[in-house]
Structure formats: C-alpha cells, structure tokens
Homo-oligomer: 557 residues x 2
C-alpha cells in the first residue's frame, strides 16, 4: 500500500500541510477530512465579508488568480483528496486508524501512516445565563457570518462582548452596516493582551469617535430576552441589544488529540516540537489547535493566527511526507485595522515583559509616519520596550492613522534576531520623503531608548504625572511648547516657558525642585531636560510622549 | 578656554552632529559654519518642492511641529552658533585652526579642539560640450530649485540626463508641471545600480505610461543652443530641450579634507572609522562627504543618503564632544516613488552580488500587496537574492504600485542580521487582511527560495526563455494558466494545458524533452513542474515570476 497521509481539517494549516506533503512525496496518498462544508477559506476575512467590504463569499476561498479552492481544485491541481462533511470521531493510535462519520452515512475507518491534526480553534462561549438565546452569535465560521449578516439590520442595537481583535473588527463591520454598536470589555482597556493601556487609549478614542459605545471594566453575567436576546446583563446594568456577538477569544480544538492520549501543553493546546510532531511521532499538528514557542521568552504560548498556521502547515506537511523541516516559533506579532486606526504589536508589551520578570525601559514616540512636509503624512505612536542592562529590544507597539505595519515588521525582524537598541537605531531602512522622515520613527524611538538606557534621558509616564497632580505633589510641570500650542490644549497647572526662551528664563525656576518638562511629542521636552541638567538643576524629567500621550480622558479641555 | 567644536556644514549631518555634541557636552562651545544661506533643509524634499507637492520652502526647513530651523533656532534651542555665508577655505591641522571667509568680509581664523566635516556632496557635472549654457541645471540646492521652478514652463521641453533616483523624481516633478519630459540614460536601463534590469523594466513601463519619453543606452555628448540650451546631443541624435537637468549622480565634497592631508578612501570619499573619525583623531566626518562600510560585502562604499547622514551625524557629534558611539555601516537600501510606482532595494542586487563573486540564486515573486480579497490590493514584484550553499539572504528588490517599503524594511533588518532563507521565511510579520496575505509576499519569496536552494524548484529567467525562443531551441513552453488567461495575454508558441487538467493530459507531453512551464506569477508553474517531475519527466523548469515577469517589451501583444 502507498504511504497514506491523513490530514484532519481543511482550512489554512491543513490545506497547506496537504499541498506541501504532496510536493514532498509525489507518490503518497493524501486525504484531507473536514467536518464542514467550506474548506480553505480565509477565516480572517470574515469580518470584511460581514461588512460587505468583501462582496462575494467565494473571494475568501479563491487563490489570488481567482480559482476557487474547493474539493475539485484540490483533487485536480494538488492531487489531494478532500472529503467534506466528514467528522473524525476518534483516533486509534495503536491501530493507526481514524474513525469517521461522513455526511449522512454511518461510521467508517481510515488507516494512516502519518496523521496531521489541523483541527483549528473555536470561539469561547462563556458559561453565562441564557447564552443559548437566539441572535447570540460567534464569528468564526462562514455559517456564522451568513446568519449574522442576515440579522444585522440598520438601526438595530448590536452588543459585542470582548474588545480583542475579532471584537473590534466586528464592531466596525456592524457599525458600517448601520447598527448601533456597544462594545463591552471585562478588562479596563481595549485590546488587552495586545496593547499596553496608553496605546489602547488611542484606539479607544477613535472607536468612540466613530460612534461606538465602549464599556470597559464591565463583566457580562448573562442575557435576557424572550426567545431571542433583548438585553445584555453586565454588572447591575442592562444593555438593550437586538443581537449579540461573543468575541472573548478562541480555544484550541484538542478533544480528538486528548482522547487519543496525545500530550496537551501548558497552554491547553496540543504540544508539538520544532518539527510540529506531537507526542506521537506519527502524528503532527499545526495551526490553531497547537501551541508554539515564544521566541522572546522561550516559553510555550497559544497564539492562533492565519500567518502562523500556514508556516506550521508547511512544516507539518513536509515532515509527514518524510522530509525535514522545523518551525522555530513566533514573537506574538498582531495587527488590526479598526475604522481609520491601525494598531498592533510585536514581541512583548510592557506589561507582558514585566510579568515575565524583565527589568524594562520604555519609550513613547509619536511622530508623522513620513516626512512631515510630504502630503498625507499621518501621525503614529510607537511604544518601544527594551531590557535594561542589555538594551535588548523586547517589543514594539504601534498605533495611529499612518503606516504602523512596516514599523512592526521591521521590529519583528530585529527582535527575532535579538537586536539591541543600538542595532535597531542603525538599521538601514528605506528612506525617501513619501515613506518616512530621514530618521524613521523606529530609529528615533531607538535613539531615545539609547538615551534613556544610558541615563541621559529621564522620562516619566503621563499616567504618573497625572497621579502626581491629583495627589498634589510639589513639583513644577513645565510646558516648553509655543504659546500658540499652549493655548490650544494644555494641562492645568503647567507653567509655560517655550523652549526657545528657556536658556534666558531659567532663573525663573528653582534649582532644587522636581521639574517635569513636556512638549507635543517629547523631543523638546527632552531638549529642555538636557538644558536644565547642564545648568545644574537637580531633578528634571520629561513626560514620555508629550501631550500626545496625555490620555484624552485626562484632558482638561 | 572652553572646549570648542567646529562643524563645517549645517545640513542634515552637520546639524545633527552639532545638536548631539551639545547634548553630550553642555559646556562646549559649538560653532557651525555653512557657506550657504539655507541651513538644515531637507535636500531630499527638493523634487517635491519643485512639483509644488510641498508648497512652501520653509516646510523643508521646519521641525515636525513647524518651527523653522534657522540660525536663531539653533542658537536659542540648541545652544549652537551657526554662521551662514561662511566658507571654510582651509584647515590647518598643525595649528588646529580653520581659515574662513565670512560674507563680504575678509579671511579670518577660528581654532578648534575637535572638528566635524559635514561638507556634503555636489552634483556631478559631466565634462561635455556647452554644459555651461543657460537653463542647464542640477538639482541639489534650494537656489537650484528656485530657479528651475521659475523656468519650468508648461508645454516646454525638459530633458533629464540620468535615470537614477533624483533624475526620476525630477522627471515626475517636471511632468506634473506640464512640461514634456525626456529622460536620457547612458546605461541600458532605468535606475542602474539600484535595480536589476527586469525590475527596472517594471518602473520604465510606468514612467512611459505617464508620457515621459525614455531614451536608455543613450550617451549625451553635449548641448547646443544660443546662450540658453536648445538641444541635447546624444549619439547622433538631437533632442529639443528648453531646459536640461543634469542628474548623473553626486560626488563627495572632499577638497578641504584632501588639502588638509586627511585620508581619502577608495571610493573617493573621506575615509572614516566606526567612530566617524578621519585619519586625524581630532577630525570627524559624517554625511555625504564620507564613505561607509557595506555590511553585506564588508567593503567601503559611497552611498550618500539623508537617513545615513543623520545616523553618522549623531555618532560624529557624540565622539567630537568626548562621548563614545559607533556607526557600523549600511546595506545600500534605497527607495523612490515615481508616479504611481514604488521601487527600491536593500542589500545587493543580483548583478552587484555576482560582481562581488557570490554564487547566487534568485526568486522573482509577483503578488498583491495584501489579502487579494481586500479592496485596494495592488500588485508588487519582489526579487530576492540569496547565496547558494549558505542560503544567506543578500538582497531584496521590490517594485510596484503597492506597499514595497515595508517589505524592504523587514528585509533590511533581516539582512543586517545575516538571515538565511529559512529564517526569513519564518519571520512573524504583522498579518491581517488589510496589510498582507496570510503568507506575506516576503515569506512566499523566501519559501520559493528555500525550494530553489534545495533543488526542488527549478526556475529559468524570462530573459533566458526569450533567448531560447529566439534561437529556436527545441523545448516545450507550457502555459498552465486558464484558457481565459491564455487568451488575454500569451507568449507565441506556448502550448496550453491548464494546471487543473495537467494530471490527466500529461501524456500529450514527451518525457525526455525540456519543458518550461509558466503561469501568471509562477506558483502554478512550480506546481506543474512538481507534477511532471513526479511523473518521471526528465527536464522540467518553470519560468521565474511567470508572465508578470515577461518584460513588456517582449510581449507579443
């Protein structure tokens, strides 16, 4: 009998594994089993289908040249047999057989030489009251999307539970369709786990500007309604809702693997090694069902993503077919577009880094995304996180209307190779005015990081300054912007000495008192700190990120 | 006497060096001398000022918050004294003195403890006939730009000599102003030294589509005209021109350094070490006047760029002020926008790599710049160059209407850290449909490179296929696209067997003959090669980059 490779799951990872197995071993028999109707679709595209940004379902299932990747395509082009509506109910590892139920038919068995698990993930459905009411949705499958699209009536109220990537993308999609959208998040910020709070604040501001109601720090306890959902119960509050989308996250589909006795990792996903092999050397796993290694911390993580699924599928497919390939891991890069904001991260956030025990230094650097004089330049905020002592870059977050993706990608490459701040600051990035300033935002952030790590620049967070103001600490808050900027938006209690006059007017300031300088972004604030340092002032810092980082909700005007 | 640091040149590198020296040594006296009137302007912005994309000159000389960086700004904010209209005529290293001529005044002397040379570069003016005629311009200074702008009359004929970055940017600027533009390039392609010819072809196509006349392989021998230029003489040809822009490149301004006996490098620019120190430890150099190290080849190069100037200025300033910093070098990254095309490179091109003696493998990979189903996706072409044996990535070129800059930046970081193809293919780049396909263009290119390096994928260049067709070689050119695609644009003599029918129809093909497959981009072409390989065909290759890489000038329709 020919070598038979059986793949369970025909989406990103499974489809990739099957195709790659075929190329690796042209003689193997390759069978892909999927319990669903739709295969090889771009699940990440579902929010865009929902909003009609993508008009036709088949666009999500096509190759870039427009060929639909259905069973016929896999058979004709890939030489791979795909059986849809076929659920695998058990794996018998001793006999190397999977038990399956195909369509309406009864159970049957299929033996394998190598097995690839690409069983994916499922939305978490929290165990709360009346979660089974009609019009309570999750957004993962095409079927979900079709039904949700039908029910998303303009003017009706939608409530989205969970302000992660999918929650925010869905919020935009439903708002675009004319619904009144409320976003409910248990934690006290949007995108928890993706962004630190001051960066998330920037996203929240834009989401609210678009008319979405945001309720953070708000735990949903259940739903109420007659047959279909009518209210979301969150704390004591009742939120009217004609439909609800549950988006609190996904969990890996590991039931088959667990029942077959395969090792499940600390993250709850299937444990695999660098070859994507499970604890059974004849069984591989790839995509959302398995865990991977975080290359910054060295620890196992569960970070389901279409990009990673493809990479792992390739490796699993090669190895299942007798070849040799490895997948090292991820660094937790993620990104989303929500309304006109782009936001994402790579590596560790500050809070993740602190949890991992790193001694961290951070830089907040807002600036235009290209030469400030070039038309269309848009602001972006970078937050760079590095390890004190070594200067190693641990992570970057980026958010704003401008090009954040390329700063994340360049940083992702640098972090993968364990760059330190000095190395990051010297990267030969592509420069011309339509693409960046002569000093790219990433280079500027790295330079500030070097200044901070060397002790030349002393920053203090806007949050900390806010706290000090509220607690009535005795310090001078020094605005070094122009009088015009000061008049436009300020912080109550700040003293104005424009940077250009500081050298002449510094005798107005007491030498021994704590002084915190700030400007729009923090470059002039830092310059002011250096001027005052040089004049013998004892305790001068600048506010990180300037007034751009002053959370809008703190603003006095 | 206080430590005095004298900086010659007040543009990007000089201004940065002075500012950084001030922060490093708050007590030093810092004097910047510049022979011009305008200081700290973005020379890279001049083409955009020319086209009125940037309306006001002062925008080029402002900080991102709109403060003009003039002598007053440097004095008040930076604590740096800038003297404009001040030409340094000699450096007396023995006495540590510069001789200078200030404005209308006579000569005087200024002593220094440390000297920073930031004398920049000047446009090369080729020694050809009548080059001094009126209306023959270079584009480097603000004064040039002002005069050229005045003379750029709609409907008049402009001739640009040199199709490098500045030449192309200027071509667009003058075309935008309604001039009839002819671009003359001595070499047989646009952007020689930046792009390999097949990538440059893509740029040339777009430039021609915009109405620019392109004459490549055309050496200008002189100009003709009465007082002002009227004709460009190129070979036997006479090209009518109301104005001419010379853009054959720039050369470093090294006269002062050479006369002072400082070492000049093999590139003709001032030799410096990692600390930006010249052969005199009290004299530093930075920016366009000095050479640097190419981090891929380890060799000295002259690559003047605003981004590099800033980095070097920072290092020179710190070291001149008694601090310690180093600049490792560059990898030759450059980019330009010309009309609706973005094009650039990082690392080595194929031709550069071959000249350096590398055994190279290349990949051409055209694809949409984001998820193909996401609105606004635009095609880009990547060309990846790697070293055979090690798999080390040597360079990337990218061109097209879509986002090429971020692929260049990510590759620049990877190349700096000496990534191989496998490492590049595993980068955790930021993925969501608005930003990339699940497998980013860079990942796809790296995967193809791995397949090629391992001998699984065998490519042949479109140029080579063209040659084989012309010479009547006995081989089968196999189009594996759909009949619709085949009908739309094809290559004469190709046999059509759509990929989906290849497994059934392969008996139509002879097993021993050379077969070259192709599709639109090359993924199906590769798939076809694998299918035929597996069936025992002896000599199958695919055409790199598919029909997208088939130079338009070769097209049969």
């Amino acid at each position: 009998m020919k070598n038979r490779i059986v793949v369970i799951g025909a989406n990103a990872a499974g489809a990739k594994a099957a195709a790659k197995a075929r190329r690796t071993d042209p003689r193997a028999e390759i069978v892909v089993l999927d319990r669903g109707n739709f295969i090889s679709y771009g699940a990440c595209g579902i929010p865009y289908y929902l909003s009609d940004t993508v008009k036709e379902l088949k666009e999500l299932m096509s190759t870039p040249v427009g060929v639909v990747r259905d069973s016929n395509f896999f058979s004709k082009v890939k030489g791979v047999s795909v059986r849809t509506n076929t659920e695998v109910t058990a794996i018998d590892r001793a006999r190397k057989v999977v038990r399956l139920r195909e369509g309406g038919a009864g159970e049957s068995e299929l033996c394998y030489h190598k097995l690839v698990l690409a069983t994916g993930s499922s939305p978490v459905v929290p165990p709360i009251d009346n979660v089974a009411l009609d019009n309570v949705f999750t957004v993962k499958s095409i079927e979900d999307a079709e039904l949700l699209k039908e029910r998303a009536v303009p003017g009706a109220a939608a409530c989205i539970i969970g302000a992660g990537l999918i929650g925010l993308e869905t919020a935009e999609a439903l708002q675009d369709k004319g619904m009144r959208v409320t976003l409910v998040e248990m934690r006290d910020q949007l995108l928890p786990g993706v962004l630190d709070s001051e960066v998330a604040t920037l996203v929240e501001k834009q989401v609210k500007l678009q008319g979405v109601t945001v309720l953070s720090g708000c735990a949903v306890t259940g739903f109420a309604g007659e047959g279909r959902v009518q209210q979301v119960i969150a704390g004591g509050r009742q939120i009217a809702a004609d439909l609800v989308v549950l988006a609190p996250g996904v969990r890996p589909n590991v039931a088959l693997a667990r029942e077959a006795g395969l090792a499940i990792g600390v993250t709850g996903a299937i444990a695999v090694n660098e070859r994507q092999a499970t604890s059974d050397p004849d069984i591989f796993a790839c995509g959302d069902c398995c865990e991977t290694t975080h290359l910054v911390t060295g620890k196992k993580v569960f970070v389901p993503l279409g990009s990673t699924a493809n990479k792992q599928g390739r490796v699993a497919g090669i190895n299942a077919a007798g070849g040799s390939a490895t997948f090292a891991g991820v660094i937790g890069t993620s990104i989303l577009k929500v309304f006109n904001v782009n936001a994402g991260k790579t590596g560790l956030t500050e809070s993740e880094a602190r949890k991992q025990g790193f001694d961290v230094e951070t830089v907040l650097s807002p600036a235009p995304d290209r030469a400030h004089f070039y038309p269309g330049a848009k602001p972006i905020l970078l937050k760079l996180v590095a390890e004190r002592g070594t200067g190693r870059i641990l992570g970057l977050q980026a958010a704003g209307e401008g090009a954040v993706d390329k700063r994340l990608d360049a940083a992702a490459a640098a972090i993968t190779f364990r760059a330190n701040a000095d190395q990051l600051s010297q990267l030969d990035l592509a420069y011309a005015p339509p693409y960046s300033a002569a000093m790219d935002n990433l280079i500027v952030a790295a330079d500030i990081m070097k200044n901070k790590l060397a002790g030349h620049a002393r920053g203090i967070s806007a949050r900390e300054v806010k706290r000090k103001l509220e607690e009535g600490d005795d310090f001078i808050l020094l605005d070094v912007r122009s009088p015009a900027e000061h008049g436009e938006i300020g912080i109550a209690g700040a003293k104005l000495i424009p940077l250009g006059t500081l050298r002449e007017r510094m005798e107005e300031l007491p030498k021994e008192k704590e002084i915190i300088t700030f400007c729009k972004v923090s470059l002039r604030g830092y310059e002011a700190q250096k001027i005052l340092d040089a004049a013998g002032f004892a305790d001068v810092k600048f506010m990180d990120g300037g007034i751009m980082a002053w959370p809008y909700r703190f603003r006095d005007q």
